[in-house]
């Protein structure tokens, strides 16, 4: 019988940079949803149809996450929280998928078609949250880049540009707060 100790144990290295980039993108997405709820009437209407108390977690399996809480007429991004009790959870299967998605190399629809994610909770609510995330992404990215993230790029209007400015201001203030 061979000596087992010569076969070394391997602990794979952490994907620190990809994790941090994904974490930052999730932060912006969370702040984008918060801003969209306050400033985009369609998003407010959509989210108001969710239960009064509702939590949505977008997470990477064993990785970074972001949580949105809805309480009555308030929608708040609350950062990285324990996802266990979220009413609805969208889980990306690993950090590589998440990184590709966050950097626009896989669009959100493609992530769904590729089975790179799974959902815990009411699928009807998930469809609604996908539309909300699309609207939030429309606030975060210029139209030129947006086509890499969502199926249909909305028309660029003055209102969109003002909302984009608000989203970036909120995110920047939130980041240093």
């Amino acid at each position: 019988m061979g000596n087992a100790t010569i076969y070394r144990e391997i602990e794979p290295s952490e994907k620190w940079l990809k994790t941090q980039i994904t974490r930052l993108c999730l932060y912006f997405l969370g702040m984008g949803i918060e801003t969209a709820y306050k400033n985009v009437p369609e998003v407010k209407k959509e989210m108001d149809s969710l239960p009064d108390t509702f939590s949505f977690c977008f997470t990477v399996l064993n990785g970074p996450s972001m949580m949105i809480l809805k309480n009555g007429n308030r929608v708040k991004y609350v950062g990285e929280k324990e996802s266990y009790h979220a009413d609805l959870e969208l889980v990306l299967k690993n950090i590589e998928f998440a990184y590709l998605m966050m950097t626009g190399r896989i669009s959100t629809p493609d992530a769904i078609y590729h089975n790179r994610q799974f959902v815990r909770g009411n699928l009807g609510h998930m469809m609604l949250m996908i539309r909300v995330m699309n609207a939030a992404q429309a606030l975060l990215f210029p139209n030129l880049l947006l086509r890499f993230y969502i199926k249909k790029v909305p028309r660029l209007t003055m209102r969109t540009m003002i909302n984009r400015a608000k989203a970036y201001t909120n995110a920047t203030i939130g980041f240093f707060a």
Partner: protein
């Protein structure tokens, strides 16, 4: 467009189906040995009154003659729409009668109910709601065999179930590879007694599964192979099955077609036709197959207007509906429309043969419901698998065209 669009291989795909398929004459005779292989000998049989009254359960019970199998319980009160109330009741009977496996004999509702029972028993819970969504199950399921009595839903090979929760007025959706049955048994004797109209509607359901599976963005070469085989079998047998339900060969072909379409769409999903059909069924109680039959041509026309890539795929399907020499003669730019015409011709034939409705009006949908259906469709899981973003106005437009 002068050249036919090339089929591109997806950059990434997943495919899964672990169901053992036993298909053919006297296939029921194999159930006891399959149970033996699964280490079970005391199954509960879940069915509904329609199946029971048609005498189909007798075929299943007879197949156990002379084997060590004892049927722990026969539950034939499954409602038309599977509900968590029925699921919990059956789970209670399962435990009380010390059963060790589940056999579902019926259509989509019975099979979905049985999937729910398996979740409740295997996850040791009485609250199905906790498992709504996809991939929420973690425990190995009990041995589960399905014997379909319709040829349309494909539920015997799909990893999804929809179960109503009447108390909360919601339909719970479950998707997980774990809820796949261990064995699907297709025996023509089980679908022989299906009336012509149900035969036609369920067959159109299967055709819609196969067509949407092939044209959708999650399609892949493996699911395509299943979809093509299904379409070919359906095209060759759908009219004969409706006309002459007593033909065993035709019944078996349709059962196989339904299963193949089920494997395909379980992996590549369905799109706008199903999203609208689910909502139409939920709000106006139109049978799922009928809604699909009505909406399929209109859904395809929507894709032709919105997605050139999808239109190209629809055009390629024409080769399954007409002879090869005729296919070659149809100019490429006309193939998409010709495919839809071919599907409309099937619908018209079925309408003449058994009165299958051709419009939502004929199916009993009132105009005031269209807006609610369009709204509900936007929250259906299938809408995520449309190749293009679908707005409320666009969904309403398709419904109005089908009205």
């Amino acid at each position: 467009m002068n050249t036919q669009q090339k089929e591109s291989c997806p950059k990434y795909f997943e495919f899964f189906n672990s169901v053992k398929i036993i298909s053919g004459y006297k296939a029921l005779g194999n159930i006891s040995s399959e149970l033996d292989l699964l280490g079970a000998k005391r199954p509960i049989i879940i069915t509904d009154k329609g199946v029971s009254k048609a005498g189909l359960i007798d075929h299943v019970v007879d197949s156990f003659g002379g084997t060590p199998v004892t049927i722990g319980a026969l539950y034939d009160d499954t409602p038309i729409d599977s509900s968590n109330v029925a699921v919990n009741e059956i789970a209670g009977i399962y435990r009380q009668q010390e059963c060790d496996s589940i056999i579902a004999v019926g259509g989509g509702s019975v099979i979905d109910t049985a999937k729910g029972v398996n979740i409740v028993i295997s996850e040791e819970t009485d609250d199905l709601m906790k498992f709504t969504g996809n991939n929420r199950l973690s425990k190995p399921m009990k041995p589960f065999i399905v014997i379909p009595t319709t040829a349309g839903t494909g539920s015997e090979v799909t990893m999804a179930a929809v179960i109503a929760n009447p108390a909360q007025n919601v339909k719970m959706q479950f998707t997980s590879p774990l809820i796949l049955p261990k064995v699907a048994v297709l025996d023509p004797v089980m679908t022989m007694s299906m009336p012509a109209k149900i035969t036609a509607a369920t067959a159109m359901d299967a055709l819609t599964h196969a067509v949407e599976a092939y044209i959708g963005p999650q399609k892949n070469p493996v699911s395509d192979a299943f979809a093509f085989s299904a379409i070919e079998l359906i095209k060759d047998n759908i009219i004969s099955a409706t006309k002459n339900g007593g033909d065993k060969d035709v019944r078996l072909a349709m059962a196989n077609a339904s299963l193949l379409a089920g494997v395909s769409f379980s992996n590549s999903m369905v799109g706008i036709v199903h999203a609208l059909a689910h909502a139409t069924g939920g709000l106006c109680h139109v049978p799922h197959g009928v809604a699909n039959a009505i909406l399929l041509p209109h859904g395809l026309e929507f894709y032709i207007r919105k997605s050139p890539e999808t239109a190209g795929r629809i055009g390629k399907l024409l080769r399954f509906f007409i002879a090869p020499e005729d296919y070659a003669k149809v100019p490429i730019h006309e193939r998409t429309k010709s495919t839809i015409t071919a599907i409309r011709d099937i619908n018209s034939n079925l309408n003449q043969l058994c009165g299958l409705p051709l419009t939502l009006t004929q199916a009993g949908v009132t105009k005031d419901k269209l807006e609610s259906i369009a709204k509900a469709a936007l929250n259906d899981g299938a809408i995520a698998f449309c190749p293009v973003e679908v707005s409320y106005e666009e969904a309403l437009e398709v419904l109005q065209a089908a009205y």
